[in-house]
Amino acid sequence: QQQVKQSPQSLIVQKGGISIINCAYENTAFDYFPWYQQFPGKGPALLIAIRPDVSEKKEGRFTISFNKSAKQFSLHIMDSQPGDSATYFCAASIGVIKAAGNKLTFGGGTRVLVKP
């Protein structure tokens, strides 16, 4: 059962443009929403994360927008650069439940290509 749905599967953006990736979740128990960036042949790297009591979080050129009522969150990459070309994953986890650990549930990924 896919609990986190991510779209689009891929996107192409010109250098300097804005990349927008959307995720929707089903389980209202999720309370931590990180985004990971993965380059080919590498493991995912934590980019930015948000909790549901915050509607927006910005770190450099990366911004997460969170809509709790719609159970949706998105990643905006401002001033996209060729070096941002990678696969981006949204994820979610539930607060501490002893039987569940802190496992991350990932979306399917979005392949971003930034053209120079």
Binding site: V4, K42, G43, A100, K103, L104, T105, F106
Partner: protein, 113 residues
């Protein structure tokens, strides 16, 4: 500071064989989680270990097992390999079992022929 390290980098096995993958967490991190990432998909949670105890298990068959050692390093074992086990196996470490931030290693690419 060294990040999460995993070995080997690549591995080729045949169906029915057994494989052991190894992970060393970031210094000071006591929790290790294992994920399976099939090509073109997001990682899927397999196990979490903390203080040598299993703290979470994903929806994987009993052919998958793991353990954590006193130095917090971990092994993932897969028995009776199937073609469908071909994937990138990722290890993630966190400071404690309830810590939200998880940091991933480069993964072990397993190919089952």
């Amino acid at each position: 500071d060294a990040g999460v390290t995993q070995s080997p980098t690549h591995l080729i096995k045949t169906r029915g064989q057994h494989v052991t993958l190894r992970c060393s967490p970031i210094s000071g991190h006591k929790s290790v989680s294992w994920y399976q990432q099939v090509l073109g998909q997001g990682p899927q949670f397999i196990f979490q270990y903390y203080e040598k105890e299993e703290r979470g298990r994903g929806n994987f068959p009993d052919r998958f097992s793991a353990r954590q050692f006193p130095n917090y390093s971990s092994e993932l074992n897969v028995n009776a390999l199937l073609l469908g086990d071909s994937a990138l196996y990722l290890c993630a470490s966190s400071q404690a079992w309830e810590s939200r931030g998880q940091f991933f290693g480069p993964g072990t690419r397993l190919t089952v022929l």
